[in-house]
């Protein structure tokens, strides 16, 4: 399948959003609100519940389902307060020894006046830095779109997975085509060249696993659940003090093989 077709699938209307995963995977989910600094960003759903009997923290970028919900969720584009809420809940998870499951689905962090005024760059930077030091397991699953820094701010994890038709990229194909080639019609080529599909990213060792998308969404969920159980158990067997070192090594390798070395 062409990369551009994957882009369409990742963004497709009716594709399950984060809420559908939470409802099915987490028992007794309690949503926790607010960043304790400014507001509650509805593009980010955060909370606690039981996964396979074990208390976990879940943080998800939610695009919304119907029009009203999409508007309320700002189409899954978070403001700084969304990233700060996420960090607050991750620190809380660390305190209580809960694993963190992040579900990523966003075209990117929001670009607007309020977002800049409240430090979008600083909020993302803070998440990257703090997640690197978090002493509890983190698994991030890109379920739809993984749009640049706004996705990475929930994906500095011990393992990063993607759904079969999800995408993950530094820039949208449209943005790339219009900035580099001043030609918005080159979207398909940009999608190809950016290597943003799950299959490309597995090869580039940017992700550990691809979750197959079955015709029946319940089968996809079952596969995801099975993989999560295995991996969380594995990560929980590691001394939490050692997790930041392993996580740093995971990310340290990108671009370490350069010319002139």
């Amino acid at each position: 399948m062409k990369a551009w077709e994957r882009v369409q699938l990742a963004r497709a209307k009716g594709r399950p959003t984060a809420r559908a995963y939470i409802d099915s995977l987490i028992d007794g989910f309690l949503e926790l609100h607010g960043d304790r600094r400014f507001a509650d960003d509805k593009a980010v759903i955060g909370g606690i519940g039981r996964f396979s009997g074990m208390p976990v923290t879940v943080i998800a970028l939610e695009k919304g389902t119907d029009t009203k919900d999409k508007v309320m969720r700002n189409f899954g584009s978070a403001h700084p307060e969304g990233y700060r809420k996420a960090l607050r809940l991750m620190k809380q998870a660390e305190k209580f020894g809960r694993p963190v499951i992040c579900l990523v689905d966003t075209s990117g962090a929001y670009c607007g006046i309020g977002a800049e005024e409240r430090g979008q760059g600083q909020a993302i930077a803070q998440n990257l830095m703090e997640m690197m030091g978090l002493k509890t397991p983190i698994i991030s699953v890109i379920i739809g779109e993984g749009g640049s820094g706004g996705a990475l701010a929930l994906a500095v994890a011990d393992e990063v997975w993607m759904l079969e038709n999800a995408i993950y990229s530094v820039i949208s194909p449209e943005g790339c085509a219009s900035i580099l080639w001043k030609d918005a019609s080159k979207n398909e080529e940009a999608a190809e060249k950016l290597k943003l599909t799950a299959q490309d990213l597995l090869q580039l060792e940017v992700i550990e696993k691809i979750i197959k998308e079955h015709a029946d969404f319940r089968d996809t969920l079952a596969e995801l659940k099975g993989e999560l159980i295995k991996t969380i158990h594995r990560l929980k067997s590691i001394n939490p003090e050692e997790l930041p070192e392993l996580r740093y090594k995971r990310f340290r390798k990108y671009g370490a093989g350069l010319g002139g070395m």
């Binding site: 962090a109 929001y110 670009c111 607007g112 006046i113 977002a115 800049e116 005024e117 409240r118 430090g119 979008q120 760059g121 600083q122 993302i124 930077a125 803070q126 990257l128 830095m129 703090e130 690197m132 030091g133 640049s148 820094g149 990475l152 701010a153 500095v156 993950y168 990229s169 530094v170 820039i171 943005g175 790339c176 900035i179 580099l180 080529e189 060249k193 950016l194 290597k195 943003l196 990213l201 580039l204 940017v206 930041p244 996580r247 740093y248 990310f251 340290r252 990108y254 671009g255 370490a256 093989g257 350069l258 010319g259 002139g260 070395m261």
Partner: protein
């Protein structure tokens, strides 16, 4: 060669192009037109004033080497990892040519220079980004050099001083450029956890993936006057919200007011200010 014919490194705006056409009698290598006050400034005057317009105080972009020379004690700079070059992993169309022209244009191998220096005899690890190399964009080499800088500084227990100038992540390297944000943040974190000082000086422009990673992670963040600092570029925001932005939006003074930088320091006072901060953190002379 004059180093401050900064016109050459920038895309001409229609207005500038028009004005430039209308003044064919002025030898362009002798003068530079100031973006701030639109006056023609003699290049020698500009250079003698640290590339700050003597009329309006506009801070011109300067090269990474000039940056380091501005603050490091004379002859104290030793460069690290100077040989690192990019491997075009994605074989991105036009990238090889772009790298070659940037190398030719800037005289540098990549968009960041790192090493060790002394500032008023106090040792530090130092990095300056290069605006004429793909506008300081961060790909694998920039990420690697910055990460190694922090790692070596952690080992040698040195403070880090970084001058940022960047359009953000280098999209020609796709996801690998995005991963540099996480990688550099991890290196900053370890340096910070070791109780060591990191000073960032944000210069015009500092945006995108560099703002959203190591630029905003410093203990003390300084900025040059009027520098554009943000996550999204102003054009992207205008397209998103479909309205014009107010003139000072995302400039250093705006960030100071909103609480995202510690102070604005004019170029002429940078060395003194950085020296004061280093000394307050036990910089050994």
């Amino acid at each position: 060669m004059f180093r401050h014919d900064s016109f050459k490194h920038k895309k001409l705006e229609p207005e500038q192009a028009r004005v430039k056409r209308n003044v064919p009698t002025v030898p362009e290598k002798l003068y530079t037109k100031c973006d701030g006050c639109r006056k023609m400034i003699l290049n020698s005057d500009l250079k003698g004033n640290l590339s700050v317009c003597p009329v309006c105080g506009k801070h011109f972009r300067i090269s990474a080497r000039d940056r380091i020379a501005l603050v490091a004690d004379r002859g104290s700079f030793t460069e690290w990892d100077a040989e690192l070059t990019t491997i075009d992993v994605l074989e991105f169309p036009g990238y090889k040519e772009k790298l070659e022209s940037s190398q030719l244009n800037s005289g540098e191998k990549e968009a960041a220079i790192t090493g060790q220096a002394r500032i008023y005899s106090m040792p530090c690890a130092i990095c300056a980004m290069e605006p004429s190399f793909m506008m300081g964009s961060m790909g694998a080499v920039v990420g690697e050099k910055v990460s190694r800088l922090f790692e070596r500084a952690t080992e040698a227990r040195l403070p880090v001083v970084i001058f940022t100038v960047s359009g953000g992540a280098r999209m020609h390297e796709g996801i690998i450029s995005l991963m540099q944000m996480a990688k550099t943040s991890g290196a900053v974190k370890r340096h910070s956890d070791a109780g060591l000082l990191y000073i960032a000086v944000l210069t015009d422009p500092t945006t995108g993936g560099v703002t959203a990673s190591f630029a905003m992670e410093a203990d003390i963040i300084l900025a040059e006057p009027d520098a554009l600092i943000g996550f999204a570029g102003p054009r992207v925001i205008e397209q998103t919200i479909r309205q014009k932005l107010s003139p000072g939006f995302q400039h250093a003074e705006f960030l100071l007011e909103k609480g995202f930088i510690d102070m604005i320091v004019p170029r002429g006072e940078l060395k003194k200010t950085i020296g004061q901060i280093l000394a307050l953190h036990g910089g050994s002379v």
